[in-house]
Amino acid sequence: MLQNIYDYLLLGSLLAIWLVILLNMVLVNAGFIAYLKYSRKQEKRVLETLPFVSILIPAHNEEKVIGKTVESMLNLNYDPEMYEIIVINDNSSDNSAEILKKIQGKNPHRNLTIINTDKITGGKGKSNALNIGLERSKGQLLAIYDADNTPEKNALYELVYEIENDSKAGAVIGKFRCRNKNRNLLTRFINLEGLYFQWMAQAGRWQLLKLCTIPGTNFIIRRSILDEIGGWDTKAITEDTEISFRIYRMGYHIRFCPYSASWEQEPETIPVWLKQRKRWVKGNYYVMIKNFKYLFDKDAGPVRFDILYFLAIYVFFFIGAVVSDLLFILGLGGFIDTYIMGYSLLLWFMAYILFILSVLIAASIEKGELNVLNFFIVLLMYFTYCKLWTIVAVMGLISYLGDIFFKREVKWYKTERFD
């Protein structure tokens, strides 16, 4: 028997943190195996017939980035006759409409549709904008890109190739890379975080369980699925996660395609980053709670693991991290006493080493990312960026609970863009 409640809390938080670390190590292993498999694929990736694809780009006050995005969409290595670009300029108050009109004027023969909405028809978030685009689209396959994305020329082709060759795939996701990674320390952290998440978490889950979650951009989905589920859930502020669960419940899976890459702009300041990540956290809590019942449903398939994975990260790990930090501070101040002995600092240090190694492995997979500068950034990341995430998780949870208790309207926060 332990001496007091603090002992239980400390032991519990240690257990939670280490369970999640071990889980992540499993994913890192699986992710690396997936990488080896992908890197060895030799077959020529040729599509005999190209299906018609509708590219949907929801945009709200994106004058800084939308021009570049649409230009890159027009330059994709895909038969221009076999894809259309639909930009949903959702209740924008800036010059987005003018910029888009100019581009449309320069490319009169291209399948470029601009839908301008106002606060009555639009202005209700990304999900609503996508639904508007869905109504106007013609393709059997829909590719979604954020307004700040500039995909590689072959990005769309690779996504189509994968979905055409896998009938069980309800959607195929590509990678997103950080376009402004060299801007400052924050963007460097985000860049490494993105690499880790995609190559270790996404590829790892795909390798083990054929399980992925849609990242919100650079993905392709079958129209039939959207028709069946009635489009995107407008209540969800992370519509990507929400739709991922729905796809799996329908018996499809989501495939990971590392050959398709798109470059996007990430937040360059901490306040913008905090707002974005808080939205993600809130959205993920919403999805997790909405789908919690499937945790005990055998027919739900690999969705159960995803729910568990979310639980592990957003509940066990973050609570464990916050509790252990609090106990440490209170213990130092002499406010509480814990009677656990035998905890070695070496254990903490090993967790730190595992974190460094796993991020470096993810970095080594991408061209030019494994370098001395990134090494030092990873060393720093644990004490800075990861701690920020703990703060975001707490803020997101409080905000989410506040929305429920005070019945606040869920608002979709648009990430600020930078020049």
């Binding site: 001496q3 002992d7 035998g342 090993m350 190694l357 796993s358 997979i365």
Partner: protein, 440 residues
């Protein structure tokens, strides 16, 4: 945040400091201040390390049984002075620095021609014994009296009487010296435990422990090396929580047998009169260098005490101890104390804290601190614990059972280490794979 920009910025700033005139001037002024400061510090250091050389011709003057040179030397060492013995034939070998001084014991020389050259060469640095004694003239009254010591305490001595004496001293606020005999065997006996407890009690009443030089010539045992048994005896005392801080021995043994007590961490030497003459073939000046860190206290029997010296003006009264054998002379103690009281001669407290700077070369005397807290006896520790229980301040401590996760922790570390090795291999493989780094 660009790391290289930061570096460049610092470099530019440093270049500005070096190149611009007003910054250069500032740098010069700052360097000057730093130099002056370090010079002051080093001067102070020199002042602290200044030496006094006791210049003599004969260790023993004609007809002397006890060396007056060594008596003065002992007295000066007891005052915490940095004194070295200097035979006259080595006078010109010393490196006399600005702050050093020479004390010439004039009666020790055959004529003043033998030392007058020094006085002419170093008029500011030479002092005669007369001048030295005059410098002691106005010693504060509370420092002229004797320190009291109880000698030859054995495990079988009258410990109850000893405790009564200690209580008496404690009531009068006297801090005294206890000279205990080294015990070489029977540490496991209960009697030894009781003896240790009594010593702890005496220490708590203001006693300071010194060990007696080993008595090895009894029972016909000659030429036995006394150091090993002495070392063991002191170690046993210290293991039991008693801090032995010095040794009582005769002056001849200080020079002839310094190897016995050297490196035993005994900073104080209670020096009694010579039992034999000091071997004059010894390299006295070198030995005095070895003895320099020690604090010497001249020690006398009550019969050797000259009570009138305390009353005379300008009398030289170096720090000294009067010791009484507990086994045979306890009646003398009362008489001595009564005599000192009647002559209004104060009894000087022996307090190691007064020798803090000298003791730095030895261990820290841990059982005494600014509040004069002494080592507690078992009875006192027990009493304190019971009082804490009554005040409910340590109740929980008795119930504390710590939950040990060290075995799980060790296993987890091993698992983590294994995983780490695997990840390192992955990193190596990833670097080596020739995939033209397709992924970007």
């Amino acid at each position: 945040m660009n790391f290289w920009k930061w570096l460049k910025g610092i470099w530019n700033m440093m270049s500005k400091i070096v190149c611009k005139k007003q910054y250069r001037r500032l740098a010069w002024i700052a360097s000057l201040i730093i130099l002056l400061f370090t010079r002051t510090i080093s001067s102070y250091a020199i002042a602290v390390d200044s030496k006094e050389y006791l210049f003599y011709k004969h260790l023993y003057s004609y007809g002397e049984r006890a060396s007056s040179v060594l008596k003065l030397y002992t007295g000066l060492q007891g005052e915490g002075r940095n004194v070295f013995l200097l035979p006259h034939d080595k006078a010109w070998e010393i490196d006399l620095r600005e702050k050093d001084s020479i004390i010439i014991l004039t009666p020790n020389f055959d004529s003043n021609k033998e030392y007058v050259r020094f006085m002419e060469l170093y008029p500011e640095q030479v002092m005669t014994d007369i001048e030295l004694y005059q410098s002691f003239a106005n010693k504060p009254i509370d420092e002229i009296g004797p320190i009291l010591g109880i000698d030859k305490i054995y495990p079988f001595s009258d410990l109850n009487k000893l405790m009564d004496i200690a209580d008496g001293f404690y009531d009068r606020g006297i801090e005294f010296v206890l000279i205990i005999m080294p015990v070489y065997e029977n540490y496991q006996l209960e009697a030894y435990d009781e003896y240790i407890e009594v010593l702890k009690y005496l220490v708590s009443r203001g006693g300071n422990l010194f060990v007696h030089y080993p008595v090895t010539h009894s029972q016909g045992v000659y030429n036995l090396d006394p150091k090993p048994p002495l070392k063991e005896a002191i170690a046993e005392y210290r293991k039991r929580g008693l801090e032995v801080m010095g040794i009582k021995l005769s002056l001849d043994k200080v020079f002839n047998n310094f190897n016995v007590f050297n490196d035993l961490d005994l900073p104080f030497l209670l020096i009694t009169s010579e039992e034999t003459r000091i071997n004059e073939n010894l390299v006295i000046d070198k030995i005095s260098e070895i003895l320099q860190p020690y604090i010497m206290v001249a020690s006398y029997k009550p019969q050797q005490l000259d009570i009138f010296r305390y009353k005379a003006n300008n009398a030289y009264n170096p720090k000294h101890l009067v010791y009484i054998d507990i086994n045979t002379e306890m009646d003398l103690l009362e008489d001595l104390v009564a005599l000192l009281d009647s002559q209004e001669v104060p009894i000087v407290n022996f307090n190691p804290r007064h020798y803090k700077s000298e003791l730095k070369l030895f261990y820290n005397i841990s059982h005494t601190d600014g509040n004069n807290n002494r080592v507690m006896t078992q009875q006192e520790i027990f009493k304190q614990e019971e009082l804490e229980k009554i005040r409910r301040t340590n109740l929980n401590q008795e119930e504390i059972i710590r939950y040990d996760i060290s075995s799980h922790s060790n296993k987890s570390i091993k698992v983590a280490l294994g995983i780490g090795v695997i990840l390192l291999i992955y990193l190596y493989i990833s670097r080596r794979i020739n995939t033209k780094k397709y992924f970007k």
